[in-house]
């Protein structure tokens, strides 16, 4: 089943692989939606489901960007730890992936960190940072109930 209009607008912003993963994720959220609503003790409506999928799409975008930035950062930290050899200190200075270089000083690394920071700032400006970053799907469903009147549902 295709995503609902609001979430589709988010999904269509994404490049192919991210779009495919997000669509799969949203399909699994949709599949389990009634159980999520039951667990959150919020009555199920198609409008609430649409809002849940919209927020879940943004959550998936954040998770993808954040996870990659974390993994790159942590991997450089782990692999870059120095070891002694013949009185010299050696360590991995960065990663070469084909033509791309990821090191603490490379353009690729800086671009990834900027992407993460800008997304974080955007979510903060929109006042959904905590909701997106810290909430489980059940928390998201509960937030729909709390904000339902404001949104006219």
């Amino acid at each position: 089943m295709p995503p609902t209009p609001h979430s589709r607008d988010i999904v269509e912003l994404l490049p192919w692989a991210l779009r495919r993963d997000t669509e799969r994720y949203l399909a699994s959220v949709r599949e389990n939606a009634r159980e999520l609503f039951r667990e959150a003790r919020v009555s199920f409506t198609s409008a609430r489901l649409e809002e849940l999928l919209f927020l879940a799409a943004i959550q998936k975008l954040w998770a993808s960007v954040n996870a990659q930035a974390w993994i790159v950062d942590a991997s450089l930290g782990v692999m870059g730890q120095p070891h002694e050899q013949g009185g010299r200190t050696l360590g991995v200075a960065g990663l070469r992936l084909g033509r791309a270089v990821y090191s603490r000083t490379s353009d690729e690394y800086s671009a990834l960190q900027r992407l993460r920071t800008d997304l974080d700032n955007t979510l903060r400006r929109l006042e959904i940072r905590d909701l997106i970053r810290r909430s489980s799907l059940i928390d998201l469903v509960r937030s729909l109930n709390e904000a339902g009147t404001e949104r006219g549902h």
């Binding site: 609001h6 607008d9 988010i10 912003l13 994404l14 490049p15 192919w16 692989a17 991210l18 779009r19 993963d21 699994s28 809002e51 919209f54 943004i58 975008l61 998770a63 993808s64 960007v65 996870a67 990659q68 974390w70 993994i71 790159v72 950062d73 942590a74 991997s75 930290g77 782990v78 692999m79 730890q81 070891h83 050899q85 050696l90 360590g91 991995v92 200075a93 960065g94 990663l95 070469r96 992936l97 084909g98 791309a100 270089v101 090191s103 690729e108 671009a111 990834l112 900027r114 992407l115 800008d118 997304l119 955007t122 400006r125 929109l126 006042e127 959904i128 904000a147 404001e150 949104r151």
Partner: protein, 231 residues
């Protein structure tokens, strides 16, 4: 919350970072594999191994093997040493199956006896002999669901059958090797927890690590944190 305002802002964000999002999209699987390699390296470092990178270029960059093709010896790898124990860790390593059928499997991270790549004879397949494989790790960009667990157990069955209810090789636990590991970015479903408990009861020795991106961040940020990987 104004849905239309959020959509407008995220559209602007996507335009500003089109190249960055393309890069994240293209590199997702590669960085998961690199993260798995870093996790395994850190496991041995936490168990007091001296870990040394080989095959670095002149700028000390680690040359990452990005897929199943190519000779792993032409890329970078790690060697771990502690007392008499010595072994190598490779990314995207071809390994012969455990049943002498000539089939070759490419594991995301392979831990093999030291210099076992060099023991290959001419005309033999470009793969490490199964006897030289000590353990391995796979990484998936999914939450843990039952069929993923079944798929992983199938790989263990072909590559490391002793881990499924039989005795592991002598020295495996002493040398702090970890049972074959499945890393995933997502969470674990309740049904999958039941299945994992069943594996444990049947003495299937495997590691399943959900939320792997957060686990590696915790591992790198806290020097005192023990490795979550079990023998």
């Amino acid at each position: 919350v104004d849905i239309e305002a959020i959509k407008r802002e995220l559209q602007r964000f996507a335009v500003r970072h089109q190249a960055g999002l393309d890069e994240v999209s293209r590199r997702q699987a590669q960085f998961l594999e690199i993260g798995a390699l870093a996790f395994v390296v850190e496991h041995y470092r936490k168990n007091n191994y001296a870990v040394e990178a080989h095959g670095l270029d002149a700028s000390h960059l680690f040359h990452v093997k990005l897929g199943s093709q190519g000779n792993p010896a032409n890329y970078s790898w790690f060697t771990c040493r502690r007392g008499g124990a010595e072994f190598d860790i490779y990314l995207n390593l071809p390994v012969l199956g455990g049943y002498d059928d000539g089939g070759v499997y490419v594991v995301d991270v392979g831990v093999v006896r030291h210099a076992s790549l060099g023991r290959r004879r001419q005309h033999e397949p470009l793969a490490v002999k199964n006897d030289d494989l000590i353990t391995f790790a796979e990484v998936k960009n999914f939450r843990i669901y039952p069929m993923l667990l079944a798929h992983f157990i199938g790989i263990v069955h072909e590559l490391q059958p002793p881990c499924l209810g039989r005795r592991r090789p002598y020295g495996f636990t002493r040398d702090h090797h970890f049972a074959p590991a499945l890393f995933t970015v997502g969470s674990i479903t309740p049904n999958s927890r039941l299945i994992l408990a069943g594996f444990s009861a049947r003495r299937y020795r495997v590691n399943v690590v959900p939320g792997f991106d957060l686990a590696i961040a915790r591992l790198s940020a806290n020097a005192a944190a023990p490795s979550p990987l079990r023998p």
